[in-house]
Symmetry: C2
Subunit: 369 residues, 2 copies
């Protein structure tokens, strides 16, 4: 029996065992069941496992009997993932074993110290998730078009890598390959650093008078949105990727020290230049972030429309934009404080901007730009 049979080229055949039926594991089960792949579920909590079974993510592991799984997905918390991966490699000697933890090198290095058979292991990381957790919040579509990083090692067999990639693509994700170290460096910058900066900022608001907070606008809301993240998960993530994150924070600290020095004597020669340099470098960094669908950044123009806060107004606006024939590239709401008017920020191709401003104004909409 081939260990790496595939249903079709690049697709999973099953069965797949999912160990850990939280939000991600259960969503993986649901997604695979939606494709007709047999899934067996296991979780240390009988309740979590039962819920996942009940909502259709798969059958209890005990029902698998003598069948040999094609793939084992370890969806345990990062702290215990290496343990569970090692156990799965031993329990299922013909299966590829993948994990989905948000940090990869710590787990890989731990496994290497255990002399596990890493030819059948591939670390992965689906970059999807929701504020909610647990199996009840799971959805099979969670990974659709989201990035899913696959981290083959020199030990990984071609068949194991193929199975790992098939898991991601079968769930609708966009696969990219990184080494474990590259991955951890990348997420340290694009995910862990923003979390840290947002939390550092938000902590300053704990004693702010509500009178002052009444002046809060979208700038504060945008920069503190992810400060609402779950502490338990992030303690594990930051702990596991501490080395990469702290390297970046040394740079942030240097910049912060320099800024503090400048602001302590803002009239000094060179102070303005220092501030301008910080702002310009921020401009430059922000401009490198990819735009919609991975395309070039900042390729769109924005305009703002005032809408009364009555039901259906935003729907009517978008419908009319469609009638005008302009494609909506992005949309944001800006909530005013105190009155029942909202601002809808619309982004469109620059070539469509003026046309849309004029057409909407003609139709009676109050357009700011």
């Amino acid at each position: 029996m081939s260990a790496f049979r595939t249903h079709g080229r690049g697709h999973l055949n099953g069965p797949v065992v999912v160990i850990g039926t939280g939000l991600l594991g259960t969503s993986i089960g649901l997604g695979l069941r939606g494709r007709g792949v047999a899934v067996y579920l296991s979780d240390p909590s009988p309740t979590n496992q039962a819920v996942a079974v009940d909502i259709g993510a798969g059958l209890p592991l005990a029902a698998m009997g003598d069948e040999s799984p094609e793939l084992v997905v370890v969806a345990s918390p990062p702290d215990v993932t290496a343990d569970v991966v090692e156990r799965a490699l031993a329990d299922y000697p013909y299966a590829t074993v993948v994990d989905i933890a948000s940090v990869k090198a710590a787990i890989l290095n731990d496994l290497r110290t255990r002399s596990a058979d890493l030819s059948r292991y591939v670390g992965t990381h689906p970059m999807a998730g929701r504020e909610k957790s647990g199996p009840v919040a799971a959805r099979g579509e969670l990974f659709t078009s989201m990035p899913w990083v696959v981290c083959p090692t020199e030990e990984s067999s071609a068949g194991a890598v193929q199975a790992a990639r098939a898991l991601a693509t079968d769930l609708g994700a966009v696969v990219s390959q990184f080494t474990a170290e590259e991955h951890d460096g990348a997420v340290a910058l694009v995910s862990h650093l923003p979390q840290v900066m947002s939390s550092l900022l938000a902590t300053r608001l704990q004693d702010t008078p509500l009178h002052a907070l009444s002046l809060a606008g979208n700038g504060l809301r945008d920069t503190t949105r992810i400060a609402a993240s779950d502490p338990t998960l992030w303690v594990q993530i930051l702990g596991a990727n501490a080395g990469k994150v702290v390297q970046i924070l040394y740079g942030v600290r240097d910049d912060l020290n320099r800024l503090i020095g400048t602001l302590e004597d803002p009239a000094a020669a060179g102070a303005r230049l220092d501030l301008a340099q910080l702002m310009s470098e921020g401009n430059a960094g922000q401009a490198r972030i990819p735009g919609k669908h991975g395309g070039p950044p900042q390729a769109y123009s924005w305009l703002t429309v005032l809408v009364d806060d009555r039901p259906g107004q935003i729907a009517r606006l978008l419908t009319e934009i469609g009638e005008i024939g302009v494609n909506l590239e992005d949309l944001r709401l800006d909530h005013s404080s105190g009155q029942n008017v909202g601002m809808v920020e619309i982004s469109v191709l620059p070539s469509a901007h003026d046309l849309l401003v004029e057409a909407l104004s003609d139709r009676g909409w109050r357009v700011l730009q």
Copy 2:
């Protein structure tokens, strides 16, 4: 002739002189013209002034002749605002003079050293604006339901305060009163600190490989959005409010140093507790930010709907939500990378959440939560 005649109780009569026809000054002119108030415009740049006149924000100052203005609005850059205010108080001895700069104490303190007649001066700050600048981007509706802070001093006469408040309310803004010091402390926290943190974060991305940036999600986008701000303006703002901002940054630096120490030895006793504390304090600070229309924060539940990236899909979704009878409290788009599918995040009252998830699913929408 009374210096403080008002058209009706709490409304401006005019004429109003606007000095400085950039985005804000021109928008003020447009808004007041929309209410039938006579506006006269002045700008050091003949081009800026001509453009503002052309788009209907008012007449050139020379056309005012012998008329005595009721109000002078100084809409110059912060650096020269005190100069312009002092000059206007002298040139228009019967007028209230207000400014609209984003920092108040520095200007007030400067004016006090000049022995200007502060009974007719009131510092104000309309908290509105757009990424674009200049008169062409101006709109009379810019201030609708946005906060406008008015900062009376012990020297301010009642009539001057009334005129300042009338300017804001006539332009549709929501007026609040702060002392100059309170204002600067408040904006330091809710506006200047987020700007600094966003720029410090974004500067780290300057050398990030594009491969790594391909993993960027909404967390990075949200926290770096305002890092695209205009350096020239922010150098002036941070310079003028340096004292308040640096006090806050001392606290940020303490937290950052503590975090770096923890991440240098993440296995140490107490490390996890330190990280959990940072995250929890961030949760607590973020939770204090007012919600929609100044109401209680975080009173809503979110769900996510997948939509194909075809024109009209989002409009159709919102229309159906209206048909289902649920009010849309907030809306965000999450752009996936690589494929033509988008995620629409909808927030509704918690009591409507499950009903909406079920109703949308019944109608064939792919709902994630």
